[in-house]
Protein backbone atom coordinates (compact mmCIF):
# COMPACT_ATOMS: atom_id res chain seq x y z
CA UNK A 1 0.00 0.00 0.00
CA UNK A 2 2.72 2.48 0.82
CA UNK A 3 4.59 3.27 -2.30
CA UNK A 4 5.96 6.33 -0.59
CA UNK A 5 4.71 8.68 -3.22
CA UNK A 6 4.35 11.18 -0.44
CA UNK A 7 4.86 14.79 -1.26
CA UNK A 8 4.39 18.11 0.45
CA UNK A 9 0.80 17.93 -0.77
CA UNK A 10 -0.03 14.69 0.94
CA UNK A 11 0.86 16.00 4.39
CA UNK A 12 -2.25 16.20 6.53
CA UNK A 13 -0.65 17.05 9.85
CA UNK A 14 2.67 18.65 10.59
CA UNK A 15 4.23 19.18 13.98
CA UNK A 16 6.73 21.95 13.85
CA UNK A 17 9.13 22.38 16.76
CA UNK A 18 6.35 21.25 19.01
CA UNK A 19 7.36 21.69 22.63
CA UNK A 20 5.48 21.31 25.86
CA UNK A 21 6.89 22.03 29.27
CA UNK A 22 5.28 21.43 32.65
CA UNK A 23 7.09 23.88 34.85
CA UNK A 24 10.76 23.18 34.25
CA UNK A 25 10.09 19.69 33.01
CA UNK A 26 10.03 19.25 29.24
CA UNK A 27 7.53 16.58 28.29
CA UNK A 28 7.79 17.09 24.52
CA UNK A 29 10.85 18.70 23.06
CA UNK A 30 11.01 20.34 19.60
CA UNK A 31 9.09 17.61 17.88
CA UNK A 32 9.11 17.74 14.10
CA UNK A 33 6.93 15.16 12.43
CA UNK A 34 4.68 14.85 9.43
CA UNK A 35 1.75 12.61 8.83
CA UNK A 36 0.72 11.86 5.30
CA UNK A 37 -2.73 11.10 3.97
CA UNK A 38 -3.69 7.44 4.25
CA UNK A 39 -0.66 6.49 6.30
CA UNK A 40 -0.52 4.73 9.64
CA UNK A 41 2.04 6.43 11.82
CA UNK A 42 3.01 4.73 15.05
CA UNK A 43 4.31 6.80 17.92
CA UNK A 44 6.42 4.43 19.96
CA UNK A 45 7.99 5.18 23.28
CA UNK A 46 8.19 4.01 26.88
CA UNK A 47 5.85 5.33 29.56
CA UNK A 48 6.40 9.00 30.17
CA UNK A 49 7.97 9.57 26.76
CA UNK A 50 5.46 12.29 25.92
CA UNK A 51 3.11 10.40 23.63
CA UNK A 52 -0.10 11.42 25.34
CA UNK A 53 1.11 14.97 25.71
CA UNK A 54 1.74 15.17 21.97
CA UNK A 55 -1.71 13.83 21.20
CA UNK A 56 -3.35 16.14 23.69
CA UNK A 57 -1.79 19.11 21.95
CA UNK A 58 -3.14 17.80 18.68
CA UNK A 59 -6.63 17.59 20.18
CA UNK A 60 -6.19 21.10 21.61
CA UNK A 61 -6.70 19.71 25.10
CA UNK A 62 -3.49 21.46 26.10
CA UNK A 63 -1.54 24.26 24.39
CA UNK A 64 2.01 23.85 23.17
CA UNK A 65 4.59 25.88 25.05
CA UNK A 66 6.37 26.46 21.77
CA UNK A 67 5.95 25.38 18.21
CA UNK A 68 2.89 24.73 16.10
CA UNK A 69 0.62 22.10 14.70
CA UNK A 70 -0.53 22.49 11.11
CA UNK A 71 -3.56 20.72 9.77
CA UNK A 72 -4.69 20.50 6.18
CA UNK A 73 -7.96 22.17 5.41
CA UNK A 74 -9.23 22.98 1.92
CA UNK A 75 -5.87 22.25 0.43
CA UNK A 76 -3.66 24.32 2.70
CA UNK A 77 -1.96 23.60 5.97
CA UNK A 78 -3.54 25.79 8.62
CA UNK A 79 -2.04 26.50 12.00
CA UNK A 80 -4.22 25.05 14.75
CA UNK A 81 -5.53 27.84 16.97
CA UNK A 82 -8.41 28.45 19.30
CA UNK A 83 -10.44 30.11 16.56
CA UNK A 84 -10.17 27.46 13.88
CA UNK A 85 -9.97 24.33 15.98
CA UNK A 86 -13.70 23.74 15.79
CA UNK A 87 -13.71 23.02 12.08
CA UNK A 88 -10.12 21.80 11.73
CA UNK A 89 -10.80 19.04 14.21
CA UNK A 90 -14.00 17.92 12.44
CA UNK A 91 -11.82 15.66 10.38
CA UNK A 92 -10.23 14.11 13.47
CA UNK A 93 -11.23 11.48 15.92
CA UNK A 94 -9.37 11.21 19.20
CA UNK A 95 -9.08 8.58 21.88
CA UNK A 96 -6.58 9.84 24.40
CA UNK A 97 -5.43 8.02 27.52
CA UNK A 98 -8.09 5.92 29.17
CA UNK A 99 -11.25 7.88 29.58
CA UNK A 100 -13.88 6.13 31.63
CA UNK A 101 -17.21 5.82 29.93
CA UNK A 102 -20.57 7.10 30.93
CA UNK A 103 -22.02 4.02 32.51
CA UNK A 104 -25.61 4.93 32.41
CA UNK A 105 -26.00 5.23 28.64
CA UNK A 106 -26.01 2.88 25.68
CA UNK A 107 -23.55 2.83 22.78
CA UNK A 108 -26.30 4.10 20.52
CA UNK A 109 -26.91 7.12 22.71
CA UNK A 110 -23.32 8.07 23.25
CA UNK A 111 -22.22 7.48 19.67
CA UNK A 112 -25.14 9.48 18.27
CA UNK A 113 -24.26 12.30 20.59
CA UNK A 114 -20.60 12.28 19.56
CA UNK A 115 -21.43 12.07 15.86
CA UNK A 116 -23.74 15.02 15.99
CA UNK A 117 -21.41 17.16 18.10
CA UNK A 118 -18.96 16.91 15.24
CA UNK A 119 -21.50 17.90 12.65
CA UNK A 120 -22.53 14.53 11.29
CA UNK A 121 -25.89 15.08 9.56
CA UNK A 122 -28.75 14.20 11.91
CA UNK A 123 -30.64 12.28 9.26
CA UNK A 124 -27.75 9.95 8.61
CA UNK A 125 -26.59 9.51 12.19
CA UNK A 126 -28.88 6.64 13.09
CA UNK A 127 -27.63 4.46 10.26
CA UNK A 128 -24.05 5.50 10.71
CA UNK A 129 -24.06 4.48 14.37
CA UNK A 130 -25.52 1.07 13.56
CA UNK A 131 -22.98 0.57 10.78
CA UNK A 132 -19.90 1.27 12.85
CA UNK A 133 -21.16 -0.80 15.77
CA UNK A 134 -21.74 -3.69 13.38
CA UNK A 135 -18.30 -3.22 11.89
CA UNK A 136 -16.84 -3.67 15.38
CA UNK A 137 -19.00 -6.76 15.90
CA UNK A 138 -21.00 -5.30 18.77
CA UNK A 139 -24.43 -4.99 17.16
CA UNK A 140 -26.11 -7.09 19.84
CA UNK A 141 -24.92 -4.64 22.45
CA UNK A 142 -25.97 -1.42 20.81
CA UNK A 143 -28.86 -0.80 23.19
CA UNK A 144 -27.33 -2.24 26.35
CA UNK A 145 -26.08 -0.04 29.15
CA UNK A 146 -22.32 0.46 28.99
CA UNK A 147 -22.10 -0.31 32.71
CA UNK A 148 -22.50 -3.99 31.83
CA UNK A 149 -19.57 -3.99 29.38
CA UNK A 150 -16.16 -5.57 29.79
CA UNK A 151 -13.03 -3.47 29.60
CA UNK A 152 -12.33 -4.59 26.05
CA UNK A 153 -15.85 -3.73 24.92
CA UNK A 154 -15.63 -0.31 26.48
CA UNK A 155 -12.40 0.29 24.68
CA UNK A 156 -14.01 -0.75 21.42
CA UNK A 157 -16.81 1.72 22.02
CA UNK A 158 -14.08 4.27 22.72
CA UNK A 159 -12.54 3.56 19.36
CA UNK A 160 -15.93 3.77 17.68
CA UNK A 161 -16.48 7.12 19.33
CA UNK A 162 -13.41 8.39 17.50
CA UNK A 163 -14.63 7.33 14.07
CA UNK A 164 -18.39 7.66 14.30
CA UNK A 165 -18.43 11.13 12.73
CA UNK A 166 -16.35 9.75 9.85
CA UNK A 167 -13.14 11.68 10.35
CA UNK A 168 -10.24 11.43 7.94
CA UNK A 169 -7.64 11.17 10.68
CA UNK A 170 -7.92 8.88 13.66
CA UNK A 171 -5.71 9.44 16.69
CA UNK A 172 -5.48 6.58 19.15
CA UNK A 173 -3.42 6.70 22.31
CA UNK A 174 -2.43 3.20 23.45
CA UNK A 175 -5.71 1.72 22.25
CA UNK A 176 -5.05 -1.84 23.32
CA UNK A 177 -2.95 -1.39 26.43
CA UNK A 178 -4.36 -3.47 29.25
CA UNK A 179 -6.65 -5.56 27.07
CA UNK A 180 -6.65 -9.30 26.69
CA UNK A 181 -4.90 -10.72 23.61
CA UNK A 182 -8.13 -11.50 21.78
CA UNK A 183 -9.39 -7.95 22.08
CA UNK A 184 -5.95 -6.69 21.05
CA UNK A 185 -6.08 -8.69 17.85
CA UNK A 186 -9.61 -7.52 17.12
CA UNK A 187 -8.62 -3.92 17.54
CA UNK A 188 -5.61 -4.37 15.31
CA UNK A 189 -7.83 -5.89 12.62
CA UNK A 190 -10.19 -3.01 12.97
CA UNK A 191 -7.36 -0.56 12.42
CA UNK A 192 -6.36 -2.34 9.25
CA UNK A 193 -9.96 -2.09 8.04
CA UNK A 194 -9.84 1.63 8.67
CA UNK A 195 -6.62 1.87 6.74
CA UNK A 196 -8.27 0.08 3.84
CA UNK A 197 -10.93 2.75 3.85
CA UNK A 198 -8.18 5.26 3.36
CA UNK A 199 -8.12 6.70 6.85
CA UNK A 200 -4.99 8.22 8.22
CA UNK A 201 -4.12 6.76 11.60
CA UNK A 202 -1.84 8.10 14.28
CA UNK A 203 -1.42 5.51 17.00
CA UNK A 204 0.77 5.42 20.07
CA UNK A 205 2.03 2.57 22.16
CA UNK A 206 4.82 1.59 24.46
CA UNK A 207 4.79 -1.88 22.95
CA UNK A 208 6.68 -2.39 19.76
CA UNK A 209 4.56 -5.15 18.29
CA UNK A 210 1.38 -3.14 18.70
CA UNK A 211 2.93 -0.58 16.37
CA UNK A 212 5.04 -2.66 14.03
CA UNK A 213 2.12 -4.89 13.10
CA UNK A 214 0.08 -2.03 11.69
CA UNK A 215 2.19 1.05 11.12
CA UNK A 216 3.84 2.16 7.90
CA UNK A 217 6.00 4.68 9.67
CA UNK A 218 7.32 4.43 13.19
CA UNK A 219 8.30 7.47 15.19
CA UNK A 220 10.20 6.61 18.34
CA UNK A 221 9.88 9.07 21.16
CA UNK A 222 11.93 9.05 24.33
CA UNK A 223 12.10 11.73 27.01
CA UNK A 224 10.06 13.94 24.76
CA UNK A 225 12.51 13.71 21.90
CA UNK A 226 12.07 12.07 18.56
CA UNK A 227 14.97 9.65 18.30
CA UNK A 228 14.02 7.86 15.11
CA UNK A 229 11.38 8.16 12.48
CA UNK A 230 11.22 5.97 9.44
CA UNK A 231 9.41 3.15 7.75
CA UNK A 232 9.47 -0.15 9.53
CA UNK A 233 11.68 -1.63 6.80
CA UNK A 234 14.27 1.12 6.93
CA UNK A 235 14.43 0.97 10.67
CA UNK A 236 15.03 -2.74 10.54
CA UNK A 237 17.77 -2.25 8.01
CA UNK A 238 19.31 0.37 10.23
CA UNK A 239 19.48 -2.00 13.13
CA UNK A 240 23.06 -3.12 13.06
CA UNK A 241 22.49 -5.69 15.72
CA UNK A 242 20.72 -8.97 15.29
CA UNK A 243 19.35 -11.52 17.66
CA UNK A 244 19.92 -15.23 17.70
CA UNK A 245 17.05 -17.13 19.15
CA UNK A 246 18.30 -20.19 20.92
CA UNK A 247 16.28 -23.03 22.35
CA UNK A 248 17.80 -25.77 24.42
CA UNK A 249 16.49 -29.21 25.01
CA UNK A 250 15.49 -29.93 27.64
CA UNK A 251 14.63 -26.39 28.66
CA UNK A 252 16.77 -25.61 31.75
CA UNK A 253 13.84 -24.21 33.71
CA UNK A 254 15.35 -24.55 37.11
CA UNK A 255 18.68 -22.93 36.38
CA UNK A 256 18.04 -20.11 33.98
CA UNK A 257 20.35 -17.82 35.89
CA UNK A 258 23.27 -20.22 35.81
CA UNK A 259 22.79 -21.17 32.18
CA UNK A 260 22.53 -17.53 31.15
CA UNK A 261 25.79 -16.72 32.93
CA UNK A 262 27.49 -19.70 31.41
CA UNK A 263 26.28 -18.80 27.91
CA UNK A 264 27.41 -15.22 28.39
CA UNK A 265 30.93 -16.34 29.28
CA UNK A 266 31.17 -18.58 26.25
CA UNK A 267 29.55 -16.35 23.69
CA UNK A 268 30.52 -12.78 24.61
CA UNK A 269 33.93 -12.83 22.91
CA UNK A 270 32.33 -14.08 19.70
CA UNK A 271 29.47 -11.63 19.13
CA UNK A 272 31.54 -8.92 17.51
CA UNK A 273 29.91 -6.36 19.81
CA UNK A 274 31.91 -4.01 21.99
CA UNK A 275 29.67 -3.81 25.00
CA UNK A 276 29.77 -7.04 26.94
CA UNK A 277 26.62 -6.24 28.88
CA UNK A 278 23.41 -8.23 28.65
CA UNK A 279 24.33 -10.02 25.50
CA UNK A 280 22.49 -13.12 26.54
CA UNK A 281 19.06 -13.03 28.05
CA UNK A 282 16.17 -15.39 28.53
CA UNK A 283 12.81 -14.51 27.05
CA UNK A 284 10.09 -16.03 29.19
CA UNK A 285 7.42 -15.57 26.53
CA UNK A 286 9.16 -17.50 23.78
CA UNK A 287 10.95 -19.75 26.26
CA UNK A 288 14.13 -19.12 24.32
CA UNK A 289 17.49 -17.54 25.00
CA UNK A 290 18.38 -14.48 22.97
CA UNK A 291 21.94 -13.74 21.98
CA UNK A 292 22.79 -10.32 20.62
CA UNK A 293 25.43 -10.21 17.92
CA UNK A 294 26.53 -7.91 15.13
CA UNK A 295 24.65 -9.74 12.40
CA UNK A 296 27.78 -11.14 10.82
CA UNK A 297 27.01 -14.73 9.61
CA UNK A 298 30.58 -15.80 10.39
CA UNK A 299 30.04 -14.90 14.04
CA UNK A 300 26.75 -16.73 13.95
CA UNK A 301 28.49 -19.92 12.83
CA UNK A 302 31.21 -19.57 15.46
CA UNK A 303 28.66 -19.14 18.19
CA UNK A 304 26.81 -22.27 17.12
CA UNK A 305 30.04 -24.26 16.97
CA UNK A 306 31.07 -23.11 20.43
CA UNK A 307 27.72 -24.09 21.84
CA UNK A 308 27.80 -27.61 20.39
CA UNK A 309 31.39 -28.24 21.44
CA UNK A 310 30.34 -27.23 24.95
CA UNK A 311 27.64 -29.87 24.97
CA UNK A 312 24.61 -27.64 24.73
CA UNK A 313 21.64 -29.49 23.24
CA UNK A 314 20.57 -26.87 20.73
CA UNK A 315 17.06 -27.57 19.48
CA UNK A 316 16.54 -24.24 17.72
CA UNK A 317 19.03 -21.69 16.49
CA UNK A 318 17.56 -18.91 14.36
CA UNK A 319 17.61 -15.19 13.59
CA UNK A 320 13.98 -14.05 13.51
CA UNK A 321 13.20 -10.83 11.73
CA UNK A 322 10.89 -9.24 14.27
CA UNK A 323 13.59 -9.39 16.86
CA UNK A 324 15.65 -6.83 15.05
CA UNK A 325 13.26 -4.00 15.53
CA UNK A 326 12.60 -4.87 19.12
CA UNK A 327 16.24 -4.66 19.80
CA UNK A 328 16.61 -1.41 17.93
CA UNK A 329 13.83 0.04 20.05
CA UNK A 330 15.43 -1.07 23.29
CA UNK A 331 18.77 0.06 22.03
CA UNK A 332 17.59 3.52 21.06
CA UNK A 333 15.87 3.96 24.36
CA UNK A 334 18.90 2.79 26.28
CA UNK A 335 21.10 5.13 24.32
CA UNK A 336 18.70 7.87 25.26
CA UNK A 337 19.08 6.96 28.92
CA UNK A 338 22.85 7.18 28.66
CA UNK A 339 22.69 10.52 26.89
CA UNK A 340 20.43 11.78 29.65
CA UNK A 341 22.85 10.73 32.32
CA UNK A 342 25.84 12.35 30.75
Amino acid sequence: MTENNFTENTIVVRFSNLTRRFGKFTAVSSLNLQIHEGEIVGLLGPNGAGKSTTMKMMAYLIRPTEGDIFIRHNGTLERLTNTNKDYLLDRFGFLIENPAFYDNVTPRQILSYFAELRGYPSKLTHKRVEDVVTMMGLSEWIDKKISTFSKGMRQKIGILSTIVHDPQIVVLDEPSTGLDPKAQVEIREFLLKLKKMGKTIFISSHLLYEISEVADTVAILNHGQLIACDTVETLEAKAKKSIIQLELFPNPNGQLQEVTTHLTQLVSPLTGLESQKNQVRYNGNTRAFEILFDGNPEHQVQILKTLTTNNFNVSDFSVPRAGLLEDLYLNLIQKGENDQNE
Binding site: L61, F94, P99, R118
Partner: protein, 294 residues
Protein backbone atom coordinates in the same frame (compact mmCIF):
# COMPACT_ATOMS: atom_id res chain seq x y z
CA UNK B 1 -21.71 -9.52 -3.62
CA UNK B 2 -18.79 -10.12 -1.35
CA UNK B 3 -18.65 -8.81 2.17
CA UNK B 4 -15.96 -6.33 1.40
CA UNK B 5 -17.92 -4.78 -1.44
CA UNK B 6 -20.90 -4.47 0.85
CA UNK B 7 -18.73 -2.92 3.47
CA UNK B 8 -17.27 -0.47 1.01
CA UNK B 9 -20.71 0.68 -0.02
CA UNK B 10 -21.86 1.02 3.51
CA UNK B 11 -18.84 3.03 4.47
CA UNK B 12 -18.69 5.42 1.57
CA UNK B 13 -17.09 8.46 3.16
CA UNK B 14 -19.25 11.34 4.24
CA UNK B 15 -19.30 14.16 1.77
CA UNK B 16 -17.89 17.02 3.77
CA UNK B 17 -20.48 19.44 2.37
CA UNK B 18 -23.13 17.51 4.27
CA UNK B 19 -21.53 18.25 7.61
CA UNK B 20 -23.75 20.51 9.65
CA UNK B 21 -23.11 24.25 9.83
CA UNK B 22 -20.22 25.74 11.58
CA UNK B 23 -20.54 28.90 13.63
CA UNK B 24 -23.60 29.94 15.57
CA UNK B 25 -25.95 27.32 14.22
CA UNK B 26 -23.57 24.64 15.32
CA UNK B 27 -23.15 26.06 18.81
CA UNK B 28 -26.89 25.97 19.37
CA UNK B 29 -27.16 22.49 17.96
CA UNK B 30 -24.37 21.23 20.16
CA UNK B 31 -25.96 22.80 23.22
CA UNK B 32 -29.30 21.23 22.35
CA UNK B 33 -27.73 17.80 21.90
CA UNK B 34 -25.90 18.21 25.18
CA UNK B 35 -29.09 19.10 27.03
CA UNK B 36 -30.75 15.95 25.69
CA UNK B 37 -27.78 13.69 26.34
CA UNK B 38 -27.14 15.04 29.80
CA UNK B 39 -30.83 14.83 30.57
CA UNK B 40 -30.88 11.19 29.62
CA UNK B 41 -27.85 10.52 31.69
CA UNK B 42 -29.34 12.18 34.77
CA UNK B 43 -32.88 10.94 34.41
CA UNK B 44 -32.47 8.35 37.15
CA UNK B 45 -31.33 11.10 39.48
CA UNK B 46 -34.50 13.00 38.76
CA UNK B 47 -36.61 10.01 39.71
CA UNK B 48 -34.57 9.48 42.87
CA UNK B 49 -34.88 13.13 43.88
CA UNK B 50 -38.63 13.13 43.32
CA UNK B 51 -38.89 10.09 45.56
CA UNK B 52 -36.86 11.77 48.28
CA UNK B 53 -39.03 14.87 48.03
CA UNK B 54 -42.15 12.77 48.27
CA UNK B 55 -40.79 11.12 51.41
CA UNK B 56 -40.36 14.55 52.96
CA UNK B 57 -43.91 15.49 52.02
CA UNK B 58 -45.20 12.28 53.60
CA UNK B 59 -43.17 12.98 56.73
CA UNK B 60 -44.74 16.43 57.12
CA UNK B 61 -48.14 15.00 56.31
CA UNK B 62 -47.78 12.57 59.20
CA UNK B 63 -46.69 15.38 61.51
CA UNK B 64 -49.71 17.43 60.45
CA UNK B 65 -52.07 14.53 60.96
CA UNK B 66 -50.68 13.89 64.44
CA UNK B 67 -51.10 17.52 65.43
CA UNK B 68 -54.19 18.25 67.49
CA UNK B 69 -55.11 21.38 65.69
CA UNK B 70 -54.43 21.77 62.01
CA UNK B 71 -53.58 25.31 60.89
CA UNK B 72 -56.61 27.45 60.22
CA UNK B 73 -55.33 29.08 57.10
CA UNK B 74 -54.35 27.22 53.97
CA UNK B 75 -51.18 29.31 53.70
CA UNK B 76 -50.06 28.24 57.15
CA UNK B 77 -50.66 24.67 56.13
CA UNK B 78 -48.43 25.16 53.10
CA UNK B 79 -45.75 26.80 55.21
CA UNK B 80 -45.73 23.84 57.55
CA UNK B 81 -44.41 21.80 54.62
CA UNK B 82 -41.63 24.22 53.84
CA UNK B 83 -39.66 24.05 57.06
CA UNK B 84 -36.93 21.88 55.66
CA UNK B 85 -37.35 23.14 52.19
CA UNK B 86 -34.23 25.27 51.93
CA UNK B 87 -32.18 22.32 53.12
CA UNK B 88 -33.88 20.12 50.57
CA UNK B 89 -33.02 22.65 47.91
CA UNK B 90 -29.36 22.57 48.83
CA UNK B 91 -29.41 18.80 48.57
CA UNK B 92 -31.16 18.98 45.21
CA UNK B 93 -28.68 21.46 43.78
CA UNK B 94 -25.70 19.51 45.08
CA UNK B 95 -27.10 16.22 43.87
CA UNK B 96 -27.63 17.45 40.34
CA UNK B 97 -24.77 19.92 40.11
CA UNK B 98 -21.88 18.40 42.07
CA UNK B 99 -20.48 16.52 39.12
CA UNK B 100 -21.17 19.08 36.41
CA UNK B 101 -17.53 20.05 35.79
CA UNK B 102 -15.39 17.76 37.86
CA UNK B 103 -16.67 14.52 36.30
CA UNK B 104 -14.75 15.25 33.11
CA UNK B 105 -11.50 15.27 35.04
CA UNK B 106 -12.18 12.64 37.64
CA UNK B 107 -13.13 10.12 34.99
CA UNK B 108 -11.17 11.66 32.12
CA UNK B 109 -14.30 11.80 30.00
CA UNK B 110 -13.07 15.24 29.04
CA UNK B 111 -10.56 13.56 26.77
CA UNK B 112 -13.49 12.20 24.78
CA UNK B 113 -15.58 15.33 24.83
CA UNK B 114 -13.40 18.38 24.59
CA UNK B 115 -12.07 17.68 21.13
CA UNK B 116 -15.69 17.49 20.02
CA UNK B 117 -17.29 20.45 21.73
CA UNK B 118 -16.20 23.74 23.25
CA UNK B 119 -16.26 23.56 27.00
CA UNK B 120 -18.48 26.63 27.27
CA UNK B 121 -21.18 24.99 25.19
CA UNK B 122 -20.89 21.79 27.14
CA UNK B 123 -21.28 23.70 30.39
CA UNK B 124 -24.32 25.60 29.16
CA UNK B 125 -25.97 22.41 27.93
CA UNK B 126 -25.33 20.57 31.15
CA UNK B 127 -26.40 23.49 33.27
CA UNK B 128 -29.68 23.79 31.42
CA UNK B 129 -30.34 20.07 31.76
CA UNK B 130 -29.57 19.95 35.45
CA UNK B 131 -31.29 23.19 36.32
CA UNK B 132 -34.40 21.91 34.55
CA UNK B 133 -34.34 18.64 36.43
CA UNK B 134 -33.74 20.31 39.77
CA UNK B 135 -36.59 22.74 39.06
CA UNK B 136 -38.89 19.89 38.12
CA UNK B 137 -38.15 18.08 41.33
CA UNK B 138 -38.85 21.22 43.39
CA UNK B 139 -42.04 21.82 41.44
CA UNK B 140 -43.18 18.29 42.14
CA UNK B 141 -42.71 18.98 45.83
CA UNK B 142 -44.87 22.08 45.62
CA UNK B 143 -47.42 20.25 43.52
CA UNK B 144 -47.73 17.51 46.10
CA UNK B 145 -48.15 20.07 48.85
CA UNK B 146 -50.72 21.89 46.72
CA UNK B 147 -52.66 18.69 46.26
CA UNK B 148 -52.74 18.01 49.99
CA UNK B 149 -53.74 21.60 50.66
CA UNK B 150 -56.55 21.33 48.17
CA UNK B 151 -57.80 18.13 49.77
CA UNK B 152 -57.85 19.72 53.21
CA UNK B 153 -58.91 23.30 52.42
CA UNK B 154 -60.46 23.08 48.97
CA UNK B 155 -58.30 25.93 47.89
CA UNK B 156 -54.71 26.45 46.86
CA UNK B 157 -53.20 29.80 47.81
CA UNK B 158 -51.79 31.60 44.79
CA UNK B 159 -48.97 32.99 46.87
CA UNK B 160 -47.59 29.47 46.98
CA UNK B 161 -46.75 29.58 43.28
CA UNK B 162 -45.00 32.90 43.74
CA UNK B 163 -42.98 31.27 46.46
CA UNK B 164 -42.10 28.49 44.03
CA UNK B 165 -40.91 31.17 41.62
CA UNK B 166 -38.54 32.50 44.28
CA UNK B 167 -37.43 28.98 45.05
CA UNK B 168 -36.48 28.39 41.44
CA UNK B 169 -34.62 31.68 41.29
CA UNK B 170 -32.78 30.75 44.46
CA UNK B 171 -32.07 27.33 42.99
CA UNK B 172 -30.27 29.04 40.12
CA UNK B 173 -28.04 30.79 42.62
CA UNK B 174 -27.26 27.66 44.60
CA UNK B 175 -26.65 25.61 41.48
CA UNK B 176 -24.23 28.27 40.21
CA UNK B 177 -22.36 28.03 43.46
CA UNK B 178 -22.22 24.25 43.26
CA UNK B 179 -21.01 24.54 39.66
CA UNK B 180 -18.14 26.72 40.82
CA UNK B 181 -17.25 24.24 43.53
CA UNK B 182 -17.35 21.47 40.95
CA UNK B 183 -14.79 23.43 38.95
CA UNK B 184 -12.55 24.12 41.93
CA UNK B 185 -12.30 20.63 43.33
CA UNK B 186 -10.93 17.42 41.94
CA UNK B 187 -13.50 14.83 42.89
CA UNK B 188 -17.25 14.68 42.69
CA UNK B 189 -17.52 13.66 46.33
CA UNK B 190 -15.33 16.47 47.64
CA UNK B 191 -17.16 19.02 45.51
CA UNK B 192 -20.43 17.85 47.03
CA UNK B 193 -19.22 17.79 50.60
CA UNK B 194 -17.50 21.16 50.30
CA UNK B 195 -20.63 22.70 48.79
CA UNK B 196 -22.72 21.37 51.63
CA UNK B 197 -20.30 22.65 54.27
CA UNK B 198 -20.22 26.08 52.72
CA UNK B 199 -23.95 26.33 52.30
CA UNK B 200 -24.82 25.00 55.71
CA UNK B 201 -22.06 26.42 57.82
CA UNK B 202 -19.55 28.81 56.37
CA UNK B 203 -22.08 31.36 55.18
CA UNK B 204 -23.89 31.23 58.50
CA UNK B 205 -20.69 31.74 60.39
CA UNK B 206 -19.90 34.78 58.31
CA UNK B 207 -23.36 36.15 59.05
CA UNK B 208 -22.80 35.69 62.77
CA UNK B 209 -19.44 37.39 62.63
CA UNK B 210 -20.90 40.31 60.71
CA UNK B 211 -23.68 40.67 63.24
CA UNK B 212 -21.29 40.87 66.11
CA UNK B 213 -19.27 43.55 64.41
CA UNK B 214 -22.48 45.59 64.57
CA UNK B 215 -22.53 45.82 60.83
CA UNK B 216 -25.77 47.15 59.42
CA UNK B 217 -25.18 46.43 55.72
CA UNK B 218 -27.60 44.04 54.14
CA UNK B 219 -25.67 40.77 53.60
CA UNK B 220 -26.46 40.46 49.90
CA UNK B 221 -23.18 38.66 49.38
CA UNK B 222 -24.27 35.85 51.68
CA UNK B 223 -25.69 33.28 49.36
CA UNK B 224 -28.01 31.56 51.82
CA UNK B 225 -29.57 34.88 52.83
CA UNK B 226 -31.56 34.85 49.59
CA UNK B 227 -33.24 31.59 50.50
CA UNK B 228 -35.23 33.26 53.28
CA UNK B 229 -37.61 34.88 50.86
CA UNK B 230 -39.14 31.53 49.90
CA UNK B 231 -41.11 31.23 53.13
CA UNK B 232 -41.14 34.90 54.04
CA UNK B 233 -43.12 35.59 50.90
CA UNK B 234 -46.22 34.10 52.48
CA UNK B 235 -46.37 36.93 55.00
CA UNK B 236 -45.54 39.99 53.01
CA UNK B 237 -44.54 42.60 53.81
CA UNK B 238 -41.99 40.71 55.80
CA UNK B 239 -39.72 42.24 58.38
CA UNK B 240 -36.53 43.04 56.57
CA UNK B 241 -34.40 43.01 59.67
CA UNK B 242 -34.53 43.09 63.40
CA UNK B 243 -32.37 45.11 65.76
CA UNK B 244 -31.71 43.34 68.96
CA UNK B 245 -29.99 44.36 72.10
CA UNK B 246 -29.60 41.11 73.94
CA UNK B 247 -27.46 42.51 76.73
CA UNK B 248 -29.40 45.74 77.09
CA UNK B 249 -31.89 44.63 79.70
CA UNK B 250 -29.07 43.55 81.93
CA UNK B 251 -27.40 46.87 81.44
CA UNK B 252 -24.15 45.22 80.64
CA UNK B 253 -23.48 46.44 77.17
CA UNK B 254 -25.06 48.98 74.98
CA UNK B 255 -24.79 47.19 71.69
CA UNK B 256 -27.37 46.48 69.03
CA UNK B 257 -27.04 43.64 66.64
CA UNK B 258 -28.83 43.76 63.38
CA UNK B 259 -30.11 40.46 62.15
CA UNK B 260 -31.26 40.48 58.54
CA UNK B 261 -34.31 38.39 57.81
CA UNK B 262 -35.32 38.75 54.16
CA UNK B 263 -34.16 40.49 51.04
CA UNK B 264 -36.61 42.71 49.18
CA UNK B 265 -38.07 41.39 45.94
CA UNK B 266 -35.92 43.77 43.87
CA UNK B 267 -32.84 43.01 45.94
CA UNK B 268 -33.49 39.32 45.43
CA UNK B 269 -33.83 39.52 41.66
CA UNK B 270 -30.89 41.83 41.05
CA UNK B 271 -28.75 40.15 43.69
CA UNK B 272 -29.32 36.65 42.37
CA UNK B 273 -28.70 37.64 38.76
CA UNK B 274 -25.42 39.40 39.55
CA UNK B 275 -24.27 36.83 42.06
CA UNK B 276 -24.97 33.77 39.93
CA UNK B 277 -23.46 35.39 36.85
CA UNK B 278 -20.23 35.98 38.73
CA UNK B 279 -20.23 32.40 40.00
CA UNK B 280 -20.92 30.90 36.59
CA UNK B 281 -18.38 33.03 34.76
CA UNK B 282 -15.85 32.04 37.40
CA UNK B 283 -16.76 28.39 36.97
CA UNK B 284 -16.44 28.67 33.20
CA UNK B 285 -13.01 30.31 33.40
CA UNK B 286 -11.80 27.56 35.71
CA UNK B 287 -13.34 24.88 33.52
CA UNK B 288 -11.66 26.27 30.44
CA UNK B 289 -8.22 26.14 31.99
CA UNK B 290 -8.61 23.01 34.01
CA UNK B 291 -6.61 19.93 33.09
CA UNK B 292 -6.86 16.35 34.14
CA UNK B 293 -4.38 15.37 36.81
CA UNK B 294 -2.31 12.63 35.29
Amino acid sequence: MSDSVLEEQRFAPLQEELRMDLGKGRALRQIKKTVIFDGRRNFKKLIAMILINTLFVILFLIINVLRDQPPEEATDYVISYLQFFSFLMLITAIYFGGSIIVEDFEKQTGNLLFPKIERGRLLIGRYVARFTFASISLTVYYAEVALLTYINYETVPVVMWESLGWAILYLHLVLSFVTLMSGLLNRIATAQVASLLFLLMVFNIIIQILMFTESTIEPLFILTYYGNIITAWFNMPATRYEDRNPFGPMGLLDRTFRSWATPSAEGMIIGVIIYSTILLVGAFLIYRRKQAKS
